[in-house]
Amino acid sequence: MAVPISSAPLLEARNLTKLYGNVQALDSASFTVGPGITGLLGPNGAGKSTAIRIFLGLTDATSGSALVMGDDTRDPYARTRLGYMPEHDCLPPNQSAANFLTHMAEVSGIPPSRSRALAADTLRHVGLFEERYRPIGGYSTGMKQRVKLAQALVHDPVLILLDEPTAGLDPTGRTEMLNLIRRIAREFGISVVLSTHLMQDVERTCDNIVLLDLGRVKESSDVASLTQETELIYVEVANNRDRFAAELTNRNIEHTSEGIAVSIPDVDGAKFDAVRDALVASEARLVRMGPRQRALIDLFRSN
């Protein structure tokens, strides 16, 4: 029997509050998570992990409610539709990936006759098919991250919650992991909640974000609208940036220097001509000029 999918949001937090003694981890947080990839974003201590723990039924909310596809998170049945990849190490070093995943599939309720095949398939999808009979203790950090992801996928859940999935990975490993996460959502049809404090990961991967800060929801929207183009013009030069900035000042053009580039607000036709003249006068070699996209980091700055 396949897992039925209800029309309710995949995750729904209603005035979720969590107190650890005097420390307030979540403060009346309300948000929903729909299909696709959702980034749960926020600095350390924002309440991301607490929210995930509540949705997984690992801890109870002090007040408010958390629903998984319409069901209470404390209901074990609700957890059959979830997968979880923790940030910390959680793999038995002496077992092979194939045996570990088979075991995890069975603990998720899959009959033994099917779990071994599911484990092998899942390991193939995460790129560990050839290595599946080696003890996990001998794996690299990147391979261990893949096993952690595979155990979250092995029972074919509707939604997986990933806690800092790129932690400890080198740039190549990080790109591969993010590509894999995109594949899971696009090709496998499994929705993803990506909890991270790395905004670049969210920008590169997510469709929606929920931004938490001090236990409160600061922003809940789709990534595209948050990173839309702004009124700023971004001019990147290869040399003579200071001379270029000085020429802009001489022409009374407001600007901000940012590394090798200069940002200029409220550009109209006349201002474009003046910027062009300043570039010529400064003899700076132009690399790029165009409207600037907002970055998610700006969300943090504005909050």
């Binding site: 897992v3 074990p76 059959t80 995890m104 603990v107 029972h155």
Partner: protein
């Protein structure tokens, strides 16, 4: 085979991509059974390396061997003309019985529990796999219940296998097998009942101690330490000349004595022959220790969660 045949395409591999699982999901019951069987396998080192298998079998083998030795002794005396069952008019012989076998093997089984018990619960916490269990359709009650039952099965097996070996061995060793079975069938419920109580108590105590640390060897040493300390405590108290009933009461702290003598003598009906203390006192004491161990385990895991 020619080169042309080697290069001829005989099949095509298609990547059918990700396939959603549309089969049956058995939920909590499957999860529980898996945890139980996984516990039994882990305990005996099945599917693991040689060292993991070596330790439990090293401790378990002598208990079964003891049952075999008891049976062989019986058969030997029968062969040289003694009447083991004292029913056929031959020379009677007072062979050690199931009660004595329990006394001999109970310490070995406590050591077996000390090695196997921590194996079932400590690595899950040490490797933090336990977090992956609790996000699946099992509860803490299911997890602890399955691990407890796995250890119970192993300890019960270790407790009754020597008795079964002895009982069946003697059946083949004596001249009148049928008569022997008819005369001694009551031993089966006795050693079975005693084995069940012993397994319940030992499982609960071992799991409770193993819950306190995530290091297997430390848990094993604590279990052995608790057994040894309880024995020494009784020995020290016995240095003082106390009233018989008070001595018997204090003797209840000795875990080896409870398992090797007190409880078996209740099951085999010999308790009143050598004890002044009411038999309900040791029964209540063992029940309290078991309940306390279960409560300690539960509260420890609840706090950890």
């Amino acid at each position: 085979m020619t080169t042309d045949q080697n290069t001829e395409r005989t099949g095509t591999v298609f990547d059918i991509g990700y396939q959603s699982y549309a089969g049956e999901r058995e939920g909590r019951s499957r999860a529980w059974k898996t945890m139980l069987w996984d516990g039994v396998k882990n305990g005996m080192g099945i599917g693991r390396g040689g060292w993991a298998k070596f330790l439990p079998w090293l401790v378990l083998s002598p208990t079964i061997a003891t049952g075999l030795v008891f049976a062989a002794l019986g058969a030997f005396f029968e062969q040289i003309g003694f009447d083991v069952d004292e029913t056929e008019g031959g020379l009677p012989v007072d062979l050690p019985g199931h009660l004595e076998l329990t006394a001999v093997i109970s310490f070995m089984i406590l050591i077996f529990a000390a090695f196997v018990g921590p194996e079932l619960v400590c690595p899950d916490r040490r490797n933090r796999v336990i977090h992956l269990y609790f996000v699946r359709p099992i509860t803490m009650f299911d997890y602890l219940g399955a691990r407890w039952c796995a250890l119970f099965i192993l300890i019960l097996a270790a407790s009754i296998l020597p008795h079964i070996t002895y009982w069946i061995g003697l059946l083949f060793g004596v001249a009148d097998s049928l008569g022997h079975a008819q005369d001694n069938w009551l031993d089966i419920p006795r050693f079975l009942g005693n084995g069940i109580v012993f397994a319940i108590f030992t499982t609960s105590l071992t799991i409770a101690i193993s819950s306190m640390t995530d290091r297997r060897m430390i848990a094993t040493l604590i279990v052995i330490g608790v057994i040894m300390i309880s024995t020494f405590a009784e020995l020290i108290v016995n240095l003082f000349e106390l009233q018989e009933s008070i001595s018997e009461l204090i003797a209840l702290v000795n875990l080896i004595d409870i398992n090797a003598n007190v409880m078996p003598s209740i099951f085999f009906g010999t308790y009143n022959e050598s004890n002044d203390l009411n038999m309900f006192i040791p029964i209540v004491w063992v029940a309290l220790l078991t309940a306390g161990s279960i409560f300690a385990t539960w509260s420890f895991y609840s706090r950890q969660r």
